[in-house]
Point group: C2
Chain length 139, copies 2
């Protein structure tokens, strides 16, 4: 896997993937940025949650249950001293589905967090405490 | 820190930061996606590189040296078995500056990778081997 980053202006960065898709990073004015895009640590957290998100959608669909929507909220605690790692992450998975059972969502998240999700495995191995909860909504 | 993700279509995800900025994730057709955006693991790698990128720009500017551009390439090796963590990352920092010295760039990257960058610290603590090289270009 190869990615590239270049400076756009001030602290704003344009990231490019192998297929040429862009992701924009910025930071707060207190750190020299202009707040035009999420910060690297916000996007790191999003990427971990997105990795698990895709696992869960995939597992629910493989059970032939309908995914009308999935929403994932991630709340993280960050160390106050350098390096300011994420020390705790709590994920809330809210699945809107007419037919998926609570137990199926629970199992999908567990499989992702304990077996499949490479990003969450990296967070957990780094010492970050990752916890989660699940909610089913009927449309 | 809090972020939110929601399903856009198929496997495409819209991530939203606290300030309301969006980041888009997608995946390959083989995984049910449409390749319209980078994958979560590509963005995870970009976020780590972007975190260190900002440290380096900040440190060089604090030395009152000019940053005309910084480009960072990250090449990663991923585990072949689940969870498919990143096991090795090599970063190449190419600084275009009329006055920064090679030793200043080297020191800035070292400070970021060993002291400041929370994302790189998480990668390293997870067991990922992070290495780097630096290049100065004169404009």
């Amino acid at each position: 896997m190869e990615i590239n980053l270049k400076l756009d202006r001030k602290m704003r960065i344009i990231g490019t993937s192998e297929l040429g898709h862009n992701t924009i990073f910025d930071t707060h004015p207190s750190a020299g940025g202009e707040d035009t895009a999420p910060t690297p640590m916000e996007i790191l957290l999003q990427a971990m949650a997105a990795c698990s998100f895709m696992d869960v959608v995939s597992i629910i669909r493989k059970k032939r249950k309908e995914v009308i929507n999935l929403e994932v909220k991630a709340v993280a605690v960050r160390a106050t001293e350098h390096p300011k790692v994420l020390t705790e992450v709590h994920l809330t998975f809210v699945l809107t589905s007419p037919d998926a059972e609570q137990s199926e969502l629970d199992r999908a998240v567990e499989l992702s967090q304990k077996t499949y999700c490479g990003a969450s495995a990296m967070f957990q191995r780094s010492g970050c405490k990752v916890t989660w909860e699940t909610v089913i909504k009927r449309p």
